[in-house]
Symmetry: C2
Subunit: 132 residues, 2 copies
DNA sequence: TTGAGTATGTTATGTTATTACATAGATTGC
DNA sequence: GCAATCTATGTAATAACATAACATACTCAA
């Protein structure tokens, strides 16, 4: 359970944008929102995201090439468990959830294969309750 | 359980490349491998892939922007169940698997949220037995 | 045979992500 | 202090992935 280090200037800016967004954002959207804070190039965003992902305070949604602030900051789940997302294709809302049973099931299959997991991606696309 | 229609010329070419590949391929890699069969533009690949995905004979691996031929052709799983992948980051080998228990667990969570799932992505990245 | 639907070809463009190189700031040991 | 080192940042260019827009051709049924 590594502590989250003090964020640098750019990391703070990117994290702030994600925290206050009402849904996942692409790297280039983040860039646009930080132009008036001095951001000029994608790398400023990608480098910050890389660290934020490493610290576990941001998640990447592979199926939509976007990033979202962790919905459960401070919780222990991320260090030992797996994270899943339900993504609404209509309104963009994302629900992050953890399920130890799911985790256990996946990992037991994986261990049976002698596969050494590093990272798991679980994303469900569809319609949220409000948009159904 | 919709039958798979007769594939068109381009769909056949793309499917053949994927079937004979020893791992997942990006769209542009497929394009390169079909240059001498007359392919000139990405869209020829993407359009074929779109159909092949729809027919369920090819899967897209979101976390590596690549495509792979279904490992279980003809099986019924795809129409009602969910597909998961273990992807080796060293050698690129992909193992496709189905697990009804996993499926059930995920869908019960999702139903509890009144979320209407359309598609699920489950990808585990790590090292395969041979590369561990 | 004409109209609708599907498949294809081609060019251009949009979107996402990384490489390469330069500069600046912080930290450590001397 | 001052060099060595490490981390963070700035900038330009390019690579990698994906789609839009438009034209043409090929079914196939009415
Ligand atoms: Zn989280
Ligand atoms: Zn919604
Ligand atoms: Zn399959
Ligand atoms: Zn391997």
């Amino acid at each position: 359970m590594n502590a989250i280090p003090q964020l640098t200037k750019n990391q703070t800016l990117v994290f702030d944008v994600l925290s206050h967004a009402d849904g996942p954002l692409s790297a280039y959207t983040i860039l646009d929102r930080l132009r008036d804070r001095g951001f000029r190039a994608p790398l400023q965003v990608y480098r910050a995201l890389e660290k934020l992902l490493e610290y576990g305070v941001v998640h990447r949604l592979e199926s939509i090439n976007s990033f979202v602030a962790c919905a459960h900051p401070g919780e222990d789940c991320h260090s030992h468990g797996l994270v899943a997302f339900a993504i609404c294709d209509k309104c963009g809302q994302v629900t992050e959830f953890h399920d130890h049973e799911l985790d256990h099931r996946l990992m037991s299959w994986v261990r049976g294969q002698k596969f050494k997991p590093e990272k798991a991606t679980i994303e469900i696309r569809g319609r949220c309750a409000a948009c159904a």
